[in-house]
Symmetry: D3
Subunit: 140 residues, 6 copies
Amino acid sequence: MKQVYITRRARFNAAHKLWNPGWSDENNIDVFGKCANVNWHGHNYDLHVTIKGVPHPDTGFCMNLSDLKELIRIRVEEPLDHRNLNLDVPWLAGKMTSTEILIIEIWEQLEEAISEKGSTLHKLRLYETENNYAEYYGGE
Amino acid sequence: MKQVYITRRARFNAAHKLWNPGWSDENNIDVFGKCANVNWHGHNYDLHVTIKGVPHPDTGFCMNLSDLKELIRIRVEEPLDHRNLNLDVPWLAGKMTSTEILIIEIWEQLEEAISEKGSTLHKLRLYETENNYAEYYGGE
Amino acid sequence: MKQVYITRRARFNAAHKLWNPGWSDENNIDVFGKCANVNWHGHNYDLHVTIKGVPHPDTGFCMNLSDLKELIRIRVEEPLDHRNLNLDVPWLAGKMTSTEILIIEIWEQLEEAISEKGSTLHKLRLYETENNYAEYYGGE
Amino acid sequence: MKQVYITRRARFNAAHKLWNPGWSDENNIDVFGKCANVNWHGHNYDLHVTIKGVPHPDTGFCMNLSDLKELIRIRVEEPLDHRNLNLDVPWLAGKMTSTEILIIEIWEQLEEAISEKGSTLHKLRLYETENNYAEYYGGE
Amino acid sequence: MKQVYITRRARFNAAHKLWNPGWSDENNIDVFGKCANVNWHGHNYDLHVTIKGVPHPDTGFCMNLSDLKELIRIRVEEPLDHRNLNLDVPWLAGKMTSTEILIIEIWEQLEEAISEKGSTLHKLRLYETENNYAEYYGGE
Amino acid sequence: MKQVYITRRARFNAAHKLWNPGWSDENNIDVFGKCANVNWHGHNYDLHVTIKGVPHPDTGFCMNLSDLKELIRIRVEEPLDHRNLNLDVPWLAGKMTSTEILIIEIWEQLEEAISEKGSTLHKLRLYETENNYAEYYGGE
């Protein structure tokens, strides 16, 4: 029972801003700085999706990465790529679009769909810039 | 007279969209595809600024890169970083924000300021994504 | 008339070997070393395709990169990706598959097709590994 | 007893194909797609070998990386670099050459040799492309 | 209680050598090789600082990365950047400057300061070159 | 007569400082800032060596990269790697070790040796950090 972790990278380019609507403008600018720019800014996000499993003896695969790629395309890239994360994504509506919240919500989009394929989502890594990234293991 | 080219890299994260206001919505979507998303998208832009010159015998420098870094900070990063390129930048107002136009307009912001420091701007390279970039030599 | 250079990156993973059939085995191994392994080896090739042109005032584009991407897909990625460069590619038949020859032959596949789209191919860069790459400007 | 993890990166360029000889051609192509190309394809593989240990007070080293580099050269790079993974490697004979199986078999080649040097292999990471990689901790 | 890991990258360029003053010159050269060059050598170090925490509902942040960036600047970059690790850093005095020891000592500089901000340091990764890096979780 | 440019990347890790011995300490610190640290600092230098030539019909090579690699090893990596650029390198003695001067002096070490192999050195690119690099074409 040799468990292997396999990762597929995906990318999406999106606009967002960090803004708490329950706060004053001053408070938003004080906490979020230039990330609170009212007219938005944006990023090239880089997402690493890691599956864990025992390779199947017939294929040598934990999961066929073509299936994983297609699943990420439908559930992450189509809704997020070339979108405004605050305005255009039903499952992010009313949420802060920090990298931390974004990675939790992407997990929610992927976990069940990967389980239905018979695999197990282990970890996400999400780069916002070359200097900042979040990692998430389902909350544990 | 040994000419050397020296480059400083800078970065800015911005929102934009590709949209020609003289066209119908259909035409914009047909030509620009997902880049025409009305609510914007964004990128981590990566800019390489190349100066040419003969190293000064006292310093070994074509140009002090601290000066170049500060100049890029004031004239490119401050106006563009965490901004909306279509809405927030006076010198881009009314212009298409394609990588091609953006690199031409950044040249206009830098060239004279670099000349005033006694150096010569030779080339810009601007990455929009890891797969797309523009280069510009002042139009020649 | 402000000329801009715009680049699209593409990738293909292929097998090949360096082998001159007019030479003895000893001579091949002496000149090509481990690259002459009779059972092939392979690479993740990384191709940068650079177009030059004046941005069109309506679009801000030298060339629509969606068109360039599709053209590279059809003329380079489909024939080369997950192929054996020595055995599977009609337009490489009987040729050495060094990076130098490969970049010349890719140019031949792209130049006319790009001209038919009204653009001009300026340069190719082809990475064989992170340590080796070739560049080509059409032979000049 | 302060445990540190130290990693050495290595590289090898190899040909392979994904093909189950117990299946029909149609089934192979259906499951493995272009990876089943009969004439092979190839990759620049990138391997990260991670050792764990407590730094020795005399050297500050968990393990001398010169020793680790040499050990990886002999046991991984020499047998795999510029080779056909399906045809040229005795310890891969008859096995699927998926990234998952490959990382398990490389572990088998390294673990004991590293133990004999007084160190402990903790983890491998193996990149097949910039978009796909496997990780392995000895099966746990 | 959804725990997320968030990382900030920092960089510093420093000189050092590996040299045990209790050993003979021959022994130092035998063990440390070219790293023992008496006149020093140097590296562009790349440091990844990973915090763990539950995102705050008001901000979506585990920790404000502006605070983390400033803290790394004061406690790591200022004392180490453009310095000699063996000569210029009080908290490294008399210690081996291997990547392993360096990462332990950087942890000591950061852990308490991060705790005082209400966050928890989880992991450091320190690249000495593109081929070598250390990771540390506080010694566990 | 199809000219191709072919590049080999090399690396060396070295200590240096920027210091003009004809100046006062104050002047050195004023101009060179933290680069003037008296106890040195250092970098992971990354060098790209570009040759131009017409591929030979028998080999498909402008120059055998094994020969170029060996030549760079002897003439650049051995004298510079794990050295102090100001103290340990006879051909840099008394010279400023700015990236600009360094690239000119590396050219002097390589040009004739490459010519003797029947090839032509076209360009060098030398990265001091991920943000700074110099390029040189022999002074033209």
